[in-house]
Amino acid sequence: MTAQDAPETASDISANPTGHRQRRLRLRPGRILGQVISIAVTLFGLLLLTFVIGRMMPVDPVRAIVGEDASPDTYMQVYRQLGLDRPLWEQFLIYVGDVLRGDFGTSIRTGRPVIEDILAVMPATIELATFAILIGAGLGITLGVVAAANKDRWPDHLIRIVSLLGHSMPIFWTGMIGLILFYAVLGWVGGSGRVSDFYLGLVEGPTGLLLIDSLLAGEMEVFRSALRHLVLPASILGYASAAYITRMTRSFMLDQLNQEYITTARVKGLSRSRTIWGHAFVNIRVQLVTIVALTYGGLLEGAVLIETVFAWPGFGQYLTNNLMIGDMSAVMTCVLLVGVIFITLNLLSDVLYRVFDPRTR
């Protein structure tokens, strides 16, 4: 603990009577340094892990390149080219060096740099996951609070049934039923893919996020089509996430509603909604941030099933395909990316903790 980390003392505050404004979220160099170090250590561990995974998998990277019928000479040549004849620690250092330079290897399947492939599929997943988490968190948190506020009465029972259903229905099944109902029968939404084939490749924007790119390009038709295609898979993922978020929110809220400060709020004569949202809810925000961030991470990691059902060219499909054929550079990079996503989300929730809870400042 450094001097900067030390909590403010009373004298610190009284020396600066108006200091309460600055006291909010003051950046402390010591804390930031600590965070940077901890991230660096985590990243190193992650690299070690992906490296070990790459070497331990029962896949022969040389055979994957030269094919079954190559001569032993060719095999050995490629073997040396890949650096597999060197000691393991040296291979690891080379791997770390490559990663730091932004070289994640070349995909055997596509022959292109892995990073380019991933950058091509990631926006589709980001779009889907972000929409899904907005729906999931919005719905889940609201329903959870309502259920807790009406514990053991009919709204609570209803919400618990709805969330149990969301929990227990397999997502590929809901996906297919959704497609049949809302696309084939009712025609309310677009079918599979990110956009109608007609518009495919029409917008190639700076972000890769179709909704944003089409807006930037002023292509409202494409935007509408993309939205119609996004709505169903995002809602289905959102519903599944909402099921979990509802249950957690409900139990967090019940904890808070039993606290004595809720009695205080009621004694003060506050209305029910003011007690619930103004007093109990503000106390569960920190916990909610954690579970919403984790759920979002899970969605970004790729919802393989929903991506398959909706022919959504996203990260989940990409990872699965490469796992199937043992394209190790791609798999290692995917694992690395998932790790980085979770580290980032963790960092973000850490920052939000400090916004939401004065005790952590």
């Binding site: 205080t264 004694v267 003060k268 004569g269 506050l270 003011r274 503000v282 106390n283 004065p358």
Partner: protein, 283 residues
Amino acid sequence: MTAPLLDLRGLSVLYPGEHGATLAVDNVSFTLRREKLGIVGESGSGKSTLGRALLRLLPQARITAERMTFDGMDLLSLPERAMRHLRGRRMSMILQDPKFSLNPIRRVGDQVAEACRIHLRCSRAEARERSLAMLEAVQIADPRRVYHLYPHEVSGGMGQRIMIAMMLLPEPDLVIADEPTSALDVTVRLQVLRILDRLVTERGIGLLMISHDLNLVRNFCDRVLIMYAGRVVESLPAADLERARHPYTQALLAAQPRIGGDRSPLKVPERRADWKEPIGPQP
């Protein structure tokens, strides 16, 4: 004689449970004017339940009474909406432990100001001014600084003074103080009590003081009700406590330690079935 602020006749509170209901308050009757009335009893004697029942804070409990009026209004039949206008505005309650009774992540000043905003429809600035004045009234030296603190940044004694400020700000007619000093350090108890006493007396507020501390109630209240097993077993002026006739009250008095007194372990009262029978004039 003016009409009493609080008029209770035959109040009972029943907690339904899976293994049979519990009768926490059993046929209690008393009246309260703008005076300081103490309720004394052991843990589980129903005194806290009684206080919360008056504010209708017990959603699970079944409350019945022949009469339960506050300033002529029937508390039992009052719709929840009207009840909300009474709570905080005209009847208020000081809870036991500021560590738990203040919202941990809201600034204490905002919590004090909230009641003002709701009941008196103050503007933000006015609520702030009145809260600062109220914090000063509970002898907080530097209200402008304290206003912006969070509950974990204040001491227990200061927390309880903030609680008092919060509950007295809308100038209620009746305050129920549920063990207001039990969670506090002995050294600050007296200070907090004096502040409460002064404010209550100055403003002519009726006070219902719930406590297990006989000495505190004797020194602080005008009248004392003794509760045992959900019943009020004796009612007498605080000054006459030594002359209590009910065997339970006598047992309680006998179980008090005295400075310079006998140092052998205190006598544990042996419970008798007839303790449940009230004694003396019944209201």
